[in-house]
Symmetry: C2
Subunit: 170 residues, 2 copies
């Protein structure tokens, strides 16, 4: 598993990567099971939230030079709350279970520290997304609380979501 | 105390209310002890976050027709997280301890339900702001978790902040 990701490169998204990136994130947004964006989001709006609003957006590229994942990083609050960052990660359907999300999570933590962030917060980890919850815990995040019914899952209706947090610099 | 607020009116902010509203929120933002906005925020930026971005902004007006408080309401997440709202409240320094925040909190909960929200979330209640924490608890909010060091208090340095939440419609 580590072997598979050994040849993987994570680098800043460039304009020419958007088509492949949209191909990865579109089905996830459309499904409405993990991210809060409207399942009817337009490509332009998605570009806004994934590329324009964040401080930076990255892509994970495998040995065949295919984009297999993407993540963004941004401040989670303005001003005197801006030392805590927020990230979102999406792995291509074909590349799941191969450690791509893990690599992106580790990369984002280094990136966060390099950018001067002191902690990372996930605001809305859908409780039914157990794989993600397990993975973030493995990478040092704690569930600091549960938001009852805060996510309207497109298959399951209102479900709980977790706020998860990791201190990076003490 | 209830008597004092009996003659109070809470209504939508109108353009002409901005000068008085800014006079109330400016010292709070400048102090950097309760809201994350930069203490150097400009008046234009403050108008953006308090009036333009929210779904609606209200003012509380006393019997002398002075604006003594203000709050905003907005969705806390996009799309399929947008059934949870977020509010921010500020009371004029002169009018503190007279029940204005309580009245605004109650008003905002009615307003939230009228607007179709099912829950209300405060994302960053500064732990040292004990009066606010006590007040929101009295109005049915729960501390669902603690964000360690998530707020850079201008007097105290990094302090914890709470995520607070209240289900309005079950």
């Amino acid at each position: 598993m580590e072997g598979w990701t050994r040849g993987m490169i994570i680098r800043l998204l460039e304009d020419r990567d958007w088509i492949a990136t949209w191909r990865i994130i579109e089905p996830v947004f459309r499904a409405g099971e993990t991210y809060p964006y409207s399942p009817d989001i337009t490509e332009n709006e998605a570009h806004g939230v994934w590329v324009e609003i964040p401080s930076a957006t990255f892509v994970a590229i495998d040995e065949s030079e295919d984009i297999v994942g993407t993540y963004y990083i941004k401040a989670n609050q303005p001003g005197i709350g801006a030392h805590v960052c927020n990230c979102g990660y999406i792995v291509s359907e074909d590349a799941r279970g191969k450690g791509v999300a893990s690599e992106m999570c580790k990369h984002s933590q280094h990136e966060a520290v390099d950018r001067g962030f002191r902690a990372m917060q996930y605001n809305l980890v859908v409780a039914t997304n157990q794989g993600a919850v397990r993975l973030w815990k493995k990478h040092g995040f704690e569930v600091i609380g549960t938001l009852p019914g805060a996510f309207r899952h497109q298959q399951l209706g209102y479900v709980d979501a977790y706020v998860m947090y990791k201190t990076l610099i003490t």
